[in-house]
Each structure stands twice: as C-alpha cells, then as structure tokens.
Point group: C2
Chain length 375, copies 2
Amino acid sequence: MVGGSVPVYDEIILSTALMNNVLNFDSVSGILSYQTGCVLESLSLYLEDRNYIMPLDLGAKGSCHIGGNVATNAGGLRLLLLCVCICGKVLADGRALDCLATLRKDNTGYDLKQLFIGSEGTLGVITTVTILGPRSPIYDACNVFLLFEQLLQTFQRCRGMLGEIFSAFEFLDRECTRTHTHRFSNAFELNFLVIIKTSGSNPTHDEEKLHQFLEAMTSSQLIDGTVATEEAKIKALWSLRERVTEALTHDGFTYKYDISLPIERIYQLVTDMREHLGDRAKSVVGYGHVGKTVCLCVSVSFYPDLLASIEPFVYEWTARFQGSISAEHGLGLKKRNYIYYSKASLAVALMGNIKTMLDPKGILNPYKTLPDDLQ
Amino acid sequence: MVGGSVPVYDEIILSTALMNNVLNFDSVSGILSYQTGCVLESLSLYLEDRNYIMPLDLGAKGSCHIGGNVATNAGGLRLLLLCVCICGKVLADGRALDCLATLRKDNTGYDLKQLFIGSEGTLGVITTVTILGPRSPIYDACNVFLLFEQLLQTFQRCRGMLGEIFSAFEFLDRECTRTHTHRFSNAFELNFLVIIKTSGSNPTHDEEKLHQFLEAMTSSQLIDGTVATEEAKIKALWSLRERVTEALTHDGFTYKYDISLPIERIYQLVTDMREHLGDRAKSVVGYGHVGKTVCLCVSVSFYPDLLASIEPFVYEWTARFQGSISAEHGLGLKKRNYIYYSKASLAVALMGNIKTMLDPKGILNPYKTLPDDLQ
C-alpha cells in the first residue's frame, strides 16, 4: 500500500523466513518469545493450542511475518486487546541490542524498544519479539447487522451494553457491501454493514448480554441481522470484512488510504470525498474500525488524472481535523513526503536525528519513512 | 523512593501546579486532554462524573500530579487496563514539540512520545497529556481472602474463572499483614492476604462469576474471606493495600525496592532475601501485583550496616532472573548507577546519545536516571 517493504533502487533484501522458531512460552503469564520470521497465523495456532490468543489479527495473517507486523506497528482487526512487544534488534553496525525480554513493567531508563516498533526497518533489524497473549475466550460470538442510523450511537451502545465482552467493531459502508448484500432482505436501505465480535468467559452470560443488545437494536436501528457462535460461521462472517480489499479490485484501479481520525469525523472524510470527486470517480467507499481507522478507497476507471483530485485533498482534509495520514501501513516509499501533514517539523527533524544516530550510513531500508529532505 | 524528583545540588525547581486545567473531553471515545499539573484524583473524579475512569490509580492519588505519573510511567494499582498517553513537551531549548494529541493509532514515523514517558523529566517537560479513559464499570466488587497455597495457582484460577471482569490482583504476605489480621479468625495460618477486584457491566453476571469463583476457592484454598460491593466497604478493603507503606514505618527504618520479575519468581526474591539476611533484619516483607511487580521491604532496627548485605545482593538476584530493578519508580538519583543490572551497556549508551541529542547542556533534571559515566 505504501511500498514500505519493496526494494526500489539498489537495496539488498534481507529475508527472515528461516528465523521461524518459537523461543519460549510461559503458560502462567501467556508471554511468548519467538523469532521474527514466524508467520502470524502459525503463532496464532500455537497459542490457541495452549488456551491463549495472539493480540493482533490481520487479513494477511497466513503469509505475513510477525517481524513485519512489529516493524510497521500493524494492529489489524482485534482492536481492544492489550499488546506488549519487547524486542531484540540488530543495529546498523551489526551490534545486537537486547531489551528486557520477559517483563510487563520496566522503568529503568528510556523506552528504546518503542522506537523500533513502527520504524519500518529504518533503525534496526528486529530479530526476536516477546508478546503477551491474552487468554483464549471461552465463548466467541460474531454479529452482522445492517444499520440505518449513525455509526457512533451504535458504537456507544455496544460499549455500554456489551461492556467487557465487546472485542471488535468493524463497519463497511453501502458502496463497499455491494457484493455481499444479497444475503440480506432489505439491503437496499442499509447505510452500514456492521460486524461486532464479542469474546467472553461464560457462554450463558455472554448470550444474555448479546440478546439484550440485539433486542435493543431491533426496537430501534437494526432491521436485519445474523448471529454466529459456531466457529465456521464466525469465520464466514468475519471474511466479509477481510475480503473487502479483494472485492474492490473488481472495480478496476483503486486508490487506497488508511486514515485515523477523531471518532466524530470517522466517516465524514468518505462523504466529503464523494462530494468532492462527483462522477469523476467510479466509486468512493469507506470501511474500518470505529475509534481507530477508516480505510478510504477511491475506484477509478475513466479518469486517469483522478490522482491530482484526490491528493493532496485527502491529506489536507486529514490534517485539518488532526488526523493521521497513516493509521496502519506506515509511510514507506509513497507517503514519506506527506509526513508533514501529520507531524510537526520539529518532530520530523528529531526523527532525522534519531535515524542518523542509529544508522549513520543510511543502510537500513533506505528511501523509506523519512522525507526527501532528510534522506 | 529513588529521589527522581528531589533537587540535590544546584537545580532550579519548575512547578506545574498552576497548569491544572482540563483541555478537552470527548464523551464518545473517552479521550481526555489536560495540563500536567492536574492532580490524579481530581481527574478521576472528573471522569467518574462522566461515566469513565482513569486508567491508572495510585496510593498517592490525592497529591500526585499527572505529569509526574507520565514522566515516571507510574501505573499503580489498576493493572489490567489499556492506557494511551500522548503528550506535548517543551524541549531543553524551549521549543514546543507537539505530538498528535487525539488519536489512538498513528503510524507516521517514529514514536517520539514514548521516549518521554518514563524519562523522569530528563528529556523534556511534559506540558499536556491525552489519555483514553475506559468506561466506568457498572458493578465493582472487592474480595479479600486468606491464602494458604501458592499465589500463582490462585492468579491463574482468577484469570480463568473471573475472565473479563478480573481487574486487579494484589497480594500482601504474612509479615506484611500483622496489623490487619485481627479481622480474620484463622489469620495465624495464612501465607498471603489477597485482594481481588472485579469490574463489570452486569451485576447479576458479575455476582454469579464471583460466587462460582469463591465456591471453588472455599473447597480448596480459601479459609476466611469477605466480599464487598458497597463503595465504602470496597474503599476500606482496598486501603489494606494502600496503607502498607504507612504501616511499615512503625518498624523503624525500611529499605524498599520495587522489582519486576518473571511471574514464576514473583515471591522467591522475598524468601531468598529472608534466608540471606537471617536475624540481621527485623523483618523482610513482600507485597505487590502478581504478573507485574513485587515490592520488597526490609526493615531494620539493630544493624546499621545492613545495607551492605542487601545491596548489591538484591540487584544481582534480580539480574540473574532477568528482572527489572525498577518496575515503577524509575532510577532517579539513587538507582541510576545500578542501571547495568537491568540494561545492556549498548542500551545505556544509546540512552546517553538520546539525552545528548535532546538536552545537550544537561539542564533537564540533572544527576538523574543516567549513570555517573554518562552524566
């Protein structure tokens, strides 16, 4: 999406695929240490066998290396869980930097590990990761329903009524669900398709909470919906969300943005962009996690110069409302020169100083993350 | 405890007491922005009025400034909640560094704010903080019981049976509870006094979970205990934990350490220290949060040279088991030269480089955090 991991000129590619061992697992605390070439899904399965779960989940889980997830700070679909990552790294000069690897709380000096999380490989090579896995929920449920009202009220109602079992809230707008809505009878009226996931420890209690919530929704906003508690059905519903990207490719070329915005603006960017582009775009769709990120996708088939209408409009709009122009995928190659829309010049200058300090020859993932004036 | 905020030679003291305004609160997301001179308890009350809670809680909440909590990364008693802090700072040269202040997710470059959290004021002055407050639980309960078996099994049983409503687990050892145990009939047999807090959204469900848990405990390890659900009674039980420090002062001079250890070693330091010191110490007590920190207190009245027997023993022991010599209170003045017990030389050298980069004249909280060879 931003070309953070793609070589562009003269780079040497370093593969961590063979560094794929689990190093240690503590069954009391749920703390797992592993090498960074492990594939996310294989770690998820490893923990599930031991009654724990990974604190992150992505559509690309079957192929992505966990080292890449940490280097890009990719959080993905499991939005409400605590995640602690503590890393070993190799610096540009080859020396190994070992941070405390098994602890939840350490207050001895500056938090160096955090500098490397999300640095896209520009400060060091992450070699090992230690992560705190939450306990496996006893009871998972997944609800899909069509929403006619505003997203925010529904999100607030979820937090209030589902409380501590509320574990994910994903939305897809009407445009985005064209390929899915034949499953529902009154789909033509929907504003949003919402997927809510709950995870709890007591099936009876969880079912009661869900029942009360759905009853309240039916009496107001919900028109049509389905609840799944079997694993296969949960997976099928969840794939509605995971496969959006794939579905959009049928529309032809797509410009894609992952934007983080204050919660009250979460969908306004999509409607404003739709109005701004008018019939120049084939479609403008939005989906994402409320409270975290909206993915904006603009599909185009007839207007080759559409990009000039989208950018810098999308970045200026985001900056105006104090959003982040990259909530998930980092800056990579393509977005690095737009960094000033989300970061003050002083902050960018400090990043440059840190890069110079840790990688004075600029050999680690060159041409990425930092803007041209700091390369 | 470590003298992190105490002037020692020629420092100028900067008070943030008048910077005590709430700047913004978003009632949908629970995100609160405020100046750093706010007192923790007043922010807690502000949020409670709006059905949210602060994600941290400390014994010193009535007097501590939130800026100090962030600068020392003090987490305190509320151990299982997600906390997001995003800060504005003033650097050593007076320039203001503004990080994105309202967002949960931002992946545009390096995570600079995290460098300042826990840096004890040595890198900059934190001026504003934005924090994500969790929703107020509908139902709080507090259980105190006496434990005859091992801590870890009980902790695991809590995680399993109380699940998502389990919000805090504090333990006090027998030595530590001398002043409290008259409340319980079989106190003379106890190993630990454990205080468990639950917070949930459905009183009926929470009570059922608690009931099942207590029933299981009674049939095995629990001998005597009490459950509180009224606010006044919860406060009274919780104060057993909060007032330990005060109670210990009656023993005379006390050496105090806040150590973080891998969970399976959490109490072993106390028993090993007890054996190591023998009758040279008046008492050796331990209390803390399982999964996070153990506070080790050694009281002395007869052996003025006891310190030489405690240190470096306590630090060497901690380093051997990959613990942190400061889980909560930072390094300050007193512990800074012990940093190498918890951090590799390369990590300490990098901290020195970061300090030089951000505060080249060394004017921000001098003589603190970094060891002598980097001052």
